[in-house]
Amino acid sequence: MSMEDYDFLFKIVLIGNAGVGKTCLVRRFTQGLFPPGQGATIGVDFMIKTVEINGEKVKLQIWDTAGQERFRSITQSYYRSANALILTYDITCEESFRCLPEWLREIEQYASNKVITVLVGNKIDLADKREVSQQRAAEFSEAQDMYYLETSAKESDNVEKLFLDLACRLISEARQNTLVNNVSSPLPGEGKSISYLTCCNFN
């Protein structure tokens, strides 16, 4: 592992109803593409993108899961090892928002208790078809103690921010954990000064 060229490795899993745009978010972030007429994901897809944050190489392993019910037992198996979950809904689809509590139950049941969950309302480019108001989603995310962001994979709005802020968040979390667990012995190559407090702000 130490031979590989990165300082941090995080696993991010995207979940949420079918058709809310999980694959498009991932494609937009990893390849800069918005493939129209994207077919439903089969099982899980896997992408890697390495980003640099404050001079540190962060390798993001992004698991894009199928939203359809019949793949649930496959996607559930990825929750536990995830460092972060991106719970996605479609702002033009009330149903996808109404399903969120069900998804939260799944997270509760299968994910690690240290997991970071981000709530993402996608498709803000279709503003005239909006069915879920920003305020409702903000209230919901606050009640559930989640970060919340609205994005457009099509217009590339907030997509970069979503993943980069999440990466920052994961770095500071990882550092805190090492500080708590290994006060006396920092990980090799981690003896640098810690400046994560100024690293990012997450809204």
């Binding site: 077919g39 896997f46 392993q61 198996s77």
Partner: protein, 711 residues
């Protein structure tokens, strides 16, 4: 100047020549121009002539077709008639227009009308004849008319009709097979996988149909048409699969079993399904999926190859469009969806099977004397291997990865927890502490039994059993850590085989690698647990014993005269006894622990001895002979420890050896022979302050001399 003047006439001569040359070139040019324009005219004339001939030929052909079709139709020679129509259809439409404008326009018009009528009639006849042949199951006739459709420009219709015929054949066979299944005796050798077998027969049947009829489609319809044929066949396949799976679900009670499993996964109180009962059905489902994957891979390869030939000249967009169509067919067909659903249920049930069986193995754990590990380690890994192996046999990469993930969870959380809890009970201390522990545990048991109103005999384990349990658990943890790595390696090579056969998408390899590396990380967690356990053992079992033995050193005077030195030589006062004690103590561990763990433990023990001995030394006092005595003692100790461990003792005892050297000096200043520039290969592990302190232990050295030393 003279030379120039002399050149004057020459230049005039040259100018004349040049003008003449220019005139000639201009003439040649216009001549060539003339000739080539003639040639061009000739060429044009020739082309027009050819066109005229072509057109005349076409008109003649048209006439010939008109007559030919009539004759052929009358003679029921449909191939011939179709050939004429085909010729007619491939004629340039402008030719037909032109011929109508000719002198005999009226006649041609009539004939043309006749021809079009014949075309319609032929189409109707061919369709009708085909339908009749299909009804009668007359393959030669079916194929005969199938070949005629493309001549009439009816490619799609021909393929669709022919597929209809083939689908009927497939359906008939499938019906028969399903009937056979329902009549199968439960004692039949294949009874447990009968539905997988039925699917296999269906797939093989369709594959055979494709194999048999691909050449005729290719020959008469051209490449790139196989997709259409298979798309029709897939529709039938889907219907048949639906029937088989429906029967499967009903006969095997698949959904109810899944429901029950899910209930007991959610609530522990629910009535539990015996995991062994799930075994056959799990195997059958994976087999069903493997067959489907194999079949889908077959049609994918066939269509891709056919498109490749058909699209060899096509633009990139067409190729991509075809690829998209193919992906859509493969991903969205009912067969794929149905199998994905079955596999979805399978994963949950397999996870349950694994968890319950592992729990059972833990509950039934037994240990045989003479063995290092207990039964549950082998059992648990056998189960995990079996479950992942079964998932692998489904040929579905996502299914495999899901089970690798679940196995990782099972090993990391559940099973590691079991071992962790066993280690947490600790290695029982002996003698006095043992007595203390016995009392407290007895009190605890009294308390709990009073609370529960019953006496739990399991709580009273004899010390020996508890000791053994601890050592066996340590061995178990080590073997787990190794087994995980072995399992990872085995899976890697198994997966490589699967991938080399072309199963899985582009990211299959990366997905598997990632899941397997998570699994490997669990191996390290077991290693950490082992390290914790061994150092616990060192702290609770070895340290309390070794410390008093080392403390005995204090009661042995090291300010001695010649006489005592000889006496010590004859009757060793400390070190021999210490070694005997160590030897006795370690025998138990040597027998009960794996070589690796034992070595690890002795490593910790030697470090402990070195630290403790140093502490004791600093509380003692020495003279010259006492120093010599200690040097002898240290040498014996190092010699002994070197025999019991593979660790390098010299390094751990470096400080002590240096202390011994100092204690052995003749005079204080002699230290300078070894210090600083004179140290040679020796690297001092002692600081100058420590050196002074050790020198101070020699009661025969004067403090002023030590203070005066420049280090």
């Amino acid at each position: 100047m003279v030379a120039l003047q002399r050149m004057g006439p020459n230049l005039q001569l040259i100018e004349g020549d040049a003008q003449q040359l220019a005139g000639m070139i201009a003439f040649t040019c216009s001549l060539a121009e003339n000739v080539s324009s003639k040639v061009r005219q000739l060429d044009l004339a020739k082309n027009r002539l050819y066109q005229a001939i072509q057109r005349a030929d076409d008109i003649l052909d048209l006439k010939f077709c008109m007559d030919g079709v009539q004759t052929a139709l009358r003679g029921e020679d449909y191939e011939q008639a179709a050939a004429h129509i085909h010729r007619y259809l491939s004629l340039d439409k402008s030719v037909i227009e032109l011929s109508r404008q000719g002198k005999e326009g009226g006649i041609i018009d009539a004939n043309l009308k006749l021809l079009q009528e014949s075309e319609q009639r032929l189409k109707a006849i061919v369709t009708e004849k085909f339908d009749t042949a299909m009804k009668q199951g007359d393959l030669p006739q079916v194929e005969r008319f199938f070949k005629i459709f493309p001549l009439l420009g009816l490619h799609e219709e021909g393929l669709s009709k022919f597929s209809e015929y083939l689908c009927k054949q497939v359906a008939k066979k499938a019906e028969e097979n399903l009937q056979l299944v329902m009549g199968t005796d439960m004692s039949d050798r294949r009874a447990a996988v009968i539905f997988a077998d039925t699917l296999t027969l269906l797939f093989e049947g369709i594959a055979r149909v494709v194999e048999t009829h691909q050449p005729i489609v290719e020959t008469y319809y051209g490449p790139g048409r196989l997709y259409t044929l298979i798309k029709h066949l897939q529709g039938e396949c889907d219907q048949q699969v639906e029937k088989v799976v429906e029967k499967f679900v009903k006969e095997r009670d698949y959904h109810r079993q899944f429901q029950q499993v899910q209930n007991s996964m959610m609530r522990s109180s629910a009535e539990k399904i015996e995991p062994r009962e799930l075994d056959p059905i799990l195997t059958e489902v994976t087999l069903m999926n493997a067959r489907s994957e194999l079949y889908l891979r077959f049609i994918k390869r066939r269509i891709t190859a056919d498109f490749e030939v058909g699209d060899s000249m096509a633009p990139e967009e067409v190729k991509q469009e075809h690829q998209k169509q193919l992906d859509k067919l493969l991903n969205n067909c009912l067969l794929s969806c149905t199998m994905q659903e079955l596999i979805g249920y399978y994963i949950t049930m397999e996870q349950y099977f694994m968890r319950e069986t592992v729990n059972k193995a833990v509950a039934m754990d037994s240990y045989e004397k003479g063995q290092l590990t207990s039964s549950m380690v082998d059992d648990v890994f056998y189960i995990v291997k079996k479950c992942i192996g079964r998932a692998l046999s489904s040929s579905s990469i996502d299914c495999l990865c899901a089970m690798i993930n679940h196995s990782t969870t099972e090993l990391e959380s559940d099973f590691r927890e079991v071992l962790y809890n066993k280690l947490k009970q600790g290695f029982p201390a002996t003698t006095f502490q043992d007595f203390q522990r016995g009392v407290t545990s007895a009190v605890n048991i009294m308390h709990s039994s009073l609370q529960q109103g019953k006496f739990d005999t399991k709580g009273i384990e004899s010390t020996d059993e508890a000791k053994q349990s601890f050592l066996v658990t340590l061995n178990n943890v080590e073997v787990c850590s190794e087994n995980i790595m072995t399992l990872k390696k085995t899976l890697e090579s198994d997966c490589a085989k699967l991938l080399s056969q072309g199963f899985g998408g582009e990211q299959a390899q990366a997905k598997i690698e990632s899941c397997l590396s998570d699994m490997a990380a669990v191996s390290n967690k077991f290693r950490d647990l082992l390290q914790e356990g061994v150092s616990d053992l060192n702290n609770t079992a070895i340290k309390p014993q070794v410390k008093p033995w080392i403390n005995l050193f204090l009661s042995i005077s090291h300010s001695i005269e010649e006489e005592e030195f000889s006496e010590y030589e004859a009757n060793d006062p400390w070190v021999q006894q210490f070694i005997v004690h160590l030897e006795q103590q370690m025998t138990e561990f040597k027998a009960g622990l794996s070589p690796v763990i034992y070595d690890n433990l002795t490593g910790l023990m030697t470090s402990l001895i070195a630290t403790e001995l140093e502490k004791v030394l600093l509380k003692s006092s020495f003279n010259r002979l006492g120093g010599l005595q200690f040097d002898k003692e240290l040498r014996s100790l190092i010699a002994y420890l070197t025999t019991v461990t593979t660790w390098t003792i010299r390094d751990k005892f470096a400080r002590l050896s240096q202390i011994a050297t100092i204690l052995n000096l003749e005079r204080v200043t002699e230290i300078l022979d070894y210090w600083g520039p004179n140290s040679g290969p020796l690297t001092w592990r002692l600081t100058p302050a420590e050196v002074r302190r050790v020198l101070g232990l020699r009661k025969d050295f004067r403090d002023e001399d030590i203070k005066r030393l420049r280090l």
